[in-house]
Amino acid sequence: MTDSLVPVLEAQEKMDTDKMWVIWGPQHPFSHGLWTLKLKIDGEFIVDADPIVGYLHRGWEKETENRDYARIIPMTDRLCYCASMTYSHLYCMTVEKALGIDIPEKAKYIRIVADEVCRIQSHLMWLAAVGTDLGNLTVFLWAMREREYFLDLNVKLCGARMTTNYPRIGGVRNDTTPLFDRDILRTVERFEKAMWDIIYLIDDSSVFVSRMKGISYMTREQCANLGLTGPAMRGCGVDFDIRRDDPYDNYDKVNFEVPVLNKEKKVGDTYDRYMIRIEEMFQSCDIIKQAVQKINAIGKNAPYRLKTPTKVPAGTTFGRLEDPRGESIMYLVSDGTDKPWRLKVRSPIFTNVSCSKAMCDGIRIADVPAVLAQIDMCLGETDR
């Protein structure tokens, strides 16, 4: 009798009876886009995670090798619908660096304004996603309502809401419209008041805070080593912002603070990562106000767009910029013709999502949307 039981017992020992893989995605309410997260769960706890991306791989970088430099700008908008302005900016900046030209002051400030508007609307989109991920639709709609005013600013500035196509190699597409400074200051002032309602809804609610507090701790070393960048990194104690520490365009001429939490503790949780982005929105408002003043001071007839040669001299160069989601880099290899030889995009989310295993370690299933909402997924730029 005992002999007959041996294979059964052996099989039982081999079986992982209490752990199972749950596969989230590619179509799943928590994944804002097409990607899969395989989770190995032990009861309610996560023991292993394996993100799978690539459903949206379009060969973006290969496609650019076929186009002349000017016609790549609309393509950069399509990398990420929330951060279209920063990506076009980054691309134009990189090409300008390869050309070795210095663009007019006014264009630099207009780009700062456009970038910060883009940062605020991207963060608001993220806030909306956090709301739905935690199961509250009111935050979603209120954040989207605020975002709409900034999209209206985009329309006034460049004629389109999201795929802006605004920066150009050597400047920007068009000058600011006559009442733009008035509109933008009104919107920003309105936003600074209206934002508090959403903050009351989240930060004064013990449910929201307890959902985010104390889960998914990341240390400073982990962040730096795994390549987690952006607000998520600054919440864990890494004091680094490309706008301040590696300034591009005119960011060294405006005053702003970079919100960093846990500088001494060197470890941060999901709530810290959340708080960084909220404060960043207020700092962006400050930057916008200063930059609008500078634009007004420069005057109406100042140049905003330089004429640039269509052919870029051979060489390699790269531009680096603080995206709303982290550090984004474009690495350009030019060969002296009017088309790039190679254009590499370093998307912040691509690296951030590879950290999801470290972020999901030991948390509960119900926490996963809250934790992964902080990397603000956007698949267009992840898969490229």
């Binding site: 076929n66 080593n225 690296t351």
Partner: protein, 154 residues
């Protein structure tokens, strides 16, 4: 080895690298940017040195460039203390596209190396999991090589 220097300046970086590794050449030095060229045999040692002694904690990009006659692996390595970046180029011959993986030094390089492998066919030795990431597993070619033509290029 030399002492740990937190937040080195551009001149310090080029000086120390030249002193420690006579094989590598400093291509150009700009404001907050150092561009070096490194033979592939010592690339891993250089990376360890940069990480441990020069406190470059963050590897932003690992990518490949196909120059048709040879390939190149580009490492962009960043310092969080002063925003310095090292642009390290490693030439790789077409017939033997191997280079040492740096994902044991910087965990963030893991996916970048996987991506570079699947798009350019540059093999990263000792990589923990060199599988296809963005493209389907069934692909047997490397789509970002110049020898792979798009439909419009043919």
């Amino acid at each position: 080895m030399a002492d740990v220097i937190q937040a080195p300046t551009v001149d310090q970086v080029s000086e120390i690298l030249k002193r420690e590794f006579p094989d590598i050449s400093i291509l150009c030095v700009e404001e907050r940017r150092v561009k070096v060229k490194c033979p592939r045999e010592i690339s891993h040692d250089v990376c360890v040195f940069i990480h441990d002694n020069l406190t470059f904690e963050h590897c932003s990009v690992v990518t490949g460039v196909d120059y048709e006659d040879h390939m190149m692996v580009v490492y962009l390595i960043a310092n969080y203390y002063n925003g310095l970046m090292i642009d390290m180029d490693v030439d790789v011959p077409n017939d033997d596209p191997h280079v040492a993986s740096v994902s044991d030094i910087w965990g963030g390089a893991n996916w970048h190396e996987r991506e570079t492998w699947e798009l350019f066919g540059i093999v990263f030795d000792n990589h923990p999991r060199l599988e296809r990431l963005l493209t389907p597993d069934t692909y047997e070619f490397f789509p970002f090589r110049k020898s792979y033509k798009l439909r419009s290029q043919e």
